[in-house]
Symmetry: C2
């Protein structure tokens, strides 16, 4: 459940608070934790030290996921499927670390990742007033957006200069609050250990988002500083006891995005336009990648991580879409909105916020008319090649960098350039055949969506078939060479023009339209932001209890109870064991995706089969939470989030704990596997804090 | 390349003659064979006896494919993938004949198919004048269509009464000709032998439509009459020698449909609307079926034949769509149309046919506006369950049967009822879980295409989610019981109403809209038919040489040369051998879909590895030709068509022999496998005509 394919939701969807907190609901801000709720419900009062320790032990994976420090020497645990991006990138035709796993027997063998950036949240500062003060009343939405972008870029730049920390202004409550998040950044990250994908993702696509589950979905990295393992003050102590039924647990991670506070008009847009579109795109891409993958083992290896991401997204989005197609869920949302409107109408201080609902609906209609163009051009769904992304970044970088910081497209603000360059100059391997397949497929998609006779499509294809055009572009571009990228990026507009690189020329060809539609969407987002801000203010004024913002891929604290649930008259127990893993493999005759790596068959009699493997809890999570540590009242590491069940997919829109559950790997399973299956006792010792001399 | 998912093309696409014959082009009518061409090009002059013998040896599989008689005792050979429908239907959880194959060691063990109807073409009679005479000039298109439908039904009925033979009036040249085809029908058809699917479809989806190829894609049925093997006068003698490089061969089979004579306006419609639509439907369905299949072996078995059909259609349509997206192909079609128009303009006798082009284009626009409604409701893309099809047939049957023969929906004409009932009362197994998955998926598709707020969608869903509604319908309908079907079908409108079967009620709910849109499309088809008829007449008047009608899933004769081709600078040889099969499996480490059945590994050293396995020729074929016999000048069986290469997919629009090739199994490979791998010497003997005493 890694965050993927989600920039579209982030870009197009803006949200509003309307439903009161229920059960173990909430993706809480670290600077506004649910003290009263925890006290009332669980008699638990986390101290400031407890909160700070867990916060600083938590790690964000910028490739899309979460993790945590688990040793003083910089050891970090996350999911295998979060680490997969890094594993894929340093594999090649002879070394398939994603499939076969990896074990560094010594520090010297730890493998440096090509472009993995990790962030640790150090501080939060409220900058709402500074941001809003910069937006003069009565300017139009486009000017307001420009002013807001400028002040945010300046705040970030000054913070970076002052502290040396990565500094991001985060928009919370859809514009109700702006907070400056400062992160310590790690870019020298090395792989320490990964099991085989088949044990991390046992059951494959059929078992994904299902429960009971039997997956050892973890891997270990180590943060380095100055060429040495980072010395870490805040890391989670390992619990030798895992979790018990009914226990209170906490999840500290980075949920990607949720749409709980959308007004009904926005949900209808998602149901009627967004999900049908995105699912068709995913079905098409999945078939294209499967067809490519079945041709050879090497093709399968090249496509593996992307294919996983596409299948994972598809299954998640099918579940979300099913939620919106369920009249019961929609009825709940409609009722909640009516209640909120009624409450606002009764309060003369906030009454004018009622107008915001129609403003959002109106803006949504403009978004709807432009969404397709936005997705195809600005989100580049019509140009699905890593090389296109590189080309566009270079094209725009030389145009944007000379502008004043506050006037640039947001990704080119000074405070972000280091991270952007880290990605742009990645040595990740690119395969010409694979890039051609992806690009040709997406050019056909472009034709299908805009129509063959569309003038822009005509210019993009340049008189060739999509397949021929893709071949020409991929074979012709020089951007496969990182040195060429560096030279062009460091140069000028004229220098990039003179290079006549065909992929950059393609990016240039569509750039006026891409920038124009981005401007439209950004302007409508500003209108919605202002409207949502008023609704949020109204909600705060009426009753602040239980309010937390929708997810924004920033650090949140959730809590929940370890417990099973009922399904079709069956009681699903809260945890599974290694014994269950072997049983499920046997039922399916060890056939993929229910096969086991050889070492798991060979070591079966060494493993304590009653060791708990996976467990579920009512904690409130969503994609992006993958790899989040699960901690107990003592702040100890008891497990790691890796999935939610099918019933949890509607958590995108509404919290429920009837059947929805977050799924984790038990800390005990990890240590047992390291010791008994992988002869990695030294790592198990480092996790449990046993000193080596 | 079985004909599948093609009713839509058949229903919506009407075609026109415009490009002269080239190379080995042509799907020739048996009553208008290319005598001059064969004589000029190959010095071959088939006698009437030769033609009649091959015609009467050819068999149409009404499940969608071709075959031929190959023994005096009614033995019929076709492709494994044509027989797959029958194999799937009498398999169950314990017997997977589709996967594992079948071998009747004696006549008594031959397994009767549940609903397989075979047709052998006995005679052709031109009825163009009678059909056209019934359509009074100056009536509107709707009246013209009704009159034409009525006269065709009457001709068919009288023919059936007189001859006892299945009688179909076939529309050729899109209305240029009407011919009465009379068929001998076989409905007691028994499976004799099938190899494992893995050897019949070695290489799976990646190798489908590719070459070189290594597939033993055949199976054997036997026609029975009065409980005994049918005595067959016309059957093909088996060639012991297969084919040689450069040899002239003939293909006698039932190409499903082609679109070669479409005017450019119609091709643009296919490119801009039809292919984008149908490919998205197929991608979605493929992913749904794959997700269902990976859950268990039994799921995979239940979905296998449909999944093959969907993947096969998807790959074929991707290839066709790629053709239309290739500006070179479109340019050729535009040039040819301009030349035809110019020729028509110069001939005062046919000049008025020029008007037909704009009439077709105008009708096409009406079709385009109604096509989505037609696909979803009348083609039932929104109601993808076998049980829905059964429900609708019963609903309409009790309404249509009391009407005069000529006024009924065409499928309910008297002459067709026997075949219709044969299908309707099939005991094919239906699985509630599988029907639910398919129906729920298609209801979501309906929502996506028509929109959630569409009033018809609203009534169809009846306040439930698509998944809940599908469950309610599938679990609630009584039509799983064939006795219930028979009782309702034999009854009255009131009787069907009183049954309150939920699936029939669903069919009733959408029937007014479905019938209405069908009427619109049929009326536009009539307009196009009349216009195309005039263009055809003009073409006949200008130069009749080399004209043959587009494919109509009726018997045609094609011819071609056995020869290889060049690709990416490589010379692809005309044939492959068993040795190549083993090599390809080894290269892929015997991993699916490149694995081999156990018996093929065990018997490797018994097989003559140099035996030719597959070969290619320039014969002009398309989907529906699967299973067609390939015969030599002597009329001997030398092989069986089972596929075309990727480059042949554009044959839907235009013939080419630069790289496009038809792919066949060599007759020698079949006998070698029967003797050496399957211990089926008695069948090999029957094929080669060796008498057993």
């Amino acid at each position: 459940m890694r965050q993927a394919f989600s920039q579209l939701i982030v870009a197009l969807i803006i949200v509003v608070g309307s439903i009161p907190v229920s059960g173990d609901e909430g993706m809480w801000l670290y600077n506004d934790p649910p003290h009263q709720l925890l006290k009332d419900r669980y008699g638990f009062e986390p101290t400031q030290a407890w909160l700070e320790h867990v916060q600083r032990s938590s790690v964000r994976f910028n490739s899309g996921g979460s993790g945590s420090f688990v040793s003083a020497d910089g050891l970090i645990i996350t999911n295998h499927h979060v680490g997969a991006d890094a594993l894929q990138k340093f594999s090649d035709a002879r070394h398939d670390y994603l499939r076969d796993g990896f074990h560094a027997r010594s520090r010297a063998e730890e493998k440096r990742c090509l472009d993995l950036e990790l962030n640790v949240l150090c501080s939060i500062e409220d900058v709402t007033e500074r941001v809003n003060a910069a937006v003069i009343p009565d300017v139009n939405a486009e000017q307001a957006f420009a002013a807001r972008r400028a002040v945010m870029a300046e705040i970030e730049k000054k913070s970076l200069e002052k502290t040396g920390l990565r500094s991001d202004v985060v928009t919370l409550y859809e514009g109700g609050q702006y907070q400056l998040y400062r992160y310590k950044k790690y870019t020298d990250v090395r792989l320490v250990f990964a099991p085989e994908q088949q044990i991390a993702f046992f059951g494959g696509d059929p078992d994904n988002f299902e429960y009971p589950r039997f997956d050892l979905d973890f891997c270990l990295f180590r943060a380095y500083e100055n060429g040495k393992p980072a010395r870490i003050e805040n890391y989670l102590r390992w619990s030798p006891n895992g979790v018990g039924d009914g226990e209170l647990v906490f999840v500290s991670g980075n949920p990607g995005n949720t749409s709980r506070q959308l007004i009904v008009a926005e949900l209808e847009y998602m149901r009627d336009r967004y999900f049908p579109y995105v699912l068709q795109r995913l079905y098409n891409l999945e078939v294209t990648l499967l067809a490519y993958s079945t041709r050879s083992d090497e093709n399968a290896r090249r496509a593996k991580d992307l294919l996983f991401g596409v299948q994972n997204s598809r299954k998640a989005r099918e579940g979300m879409f099913a939620g919106l197609l369920d009249p019961k869920l929609m009825k709940q949302k409609q009722t909640a909105e009516q209640q909120l409107r009624a409450a606002i109408a009764q309060d003369p201080n906030v009454k004018e916020a009622l107008l915001s609902f129609s403003r959002i609906a109106d803006a949504q209609q403009v978004v709807e008319r432009n969404a397709m163009q936005y997705r195809l051009l600005e989100d580049a769904h019509g140009f699905n090649s890593t090389l296109f992304g590189i080309a566009r970044t270079i094209l725009r970088a030389v145009e944007e960098k000379p502008k004043p910081n506050g006037q640039r497209l947001r990704e080119f603000r000074d405070s972000n350039l280091e991270s952007l360059e880290f990605q742009l100059f990645s040595e990740e391997p690119l395969y010409e055949d694979f890039e051609q397949i992806k690009l040709a497929d997406s050019l056909v998609w472009l034709v299908e969506q805009l129509g063959y006779s569309n003038p822009l499509v005509h210019r993009v294809l340049a008189g060739k078939s999509p397949r021929d055009r893709a071949a020409e572009l991929i074979l012709g571009t020089k951007l496969k060479d990182v040195a060429v990228r560096k030279k062009l990026y460091a140069g000028t507009v004229a220098g990039v023009e003179a290079a006549h690189d065909p992929m950059i020329e393609l990016a240039r060809l569509i750039d006026p339209e891409a920038r124009a539609v981005r401007r439209i969407i950004e302007t409508q987002d500003e209108i919605k932001r202002q409207a949502h801000a008023r609704i949020t203010q109204a909600r705060f004024a009426i009753d602040k209890t239980g309010l937390y913002p929708d997810a924004t891929f920033t650090l949140r604290l959730a809590f929940g109870t370890v417990k099973g649930y009922g399904e079709n008259g069956r009681a699903i127990p809260f945890q599974t064991t290694f014994a269950g893993l072997y049983e499920r493999a046997a039922v399916h005759h060890y056939k993929p995706p229910f096969d086991l790596p050889q070492c798991w068959i060979a070591k079966k009699n060494k493993i304590k089969l009653s060791t708990p493997l996976n467990f579920v809890s009512t904690a409130d999570i969503i994609g992006g939470n993958s790899g989040s540590p699960v901690v107990n009242r003592q702040g100890e590491f008891v497990g790691i989030i890796f999935d939610g069940n099918i019933q949890s997919l509607v958590l995108n829109f509404i919290y429920t704990d009837v059947q929805a559950r977050a799924t984790s790997v038990n800390s005990q399973a990890i240590v047992e596997a390291l010791r008994k299956v992988y002869n990695a006792g030294e790592l198990a010792d480092e996790l449990v804090g046993k000193k080596h001399l």
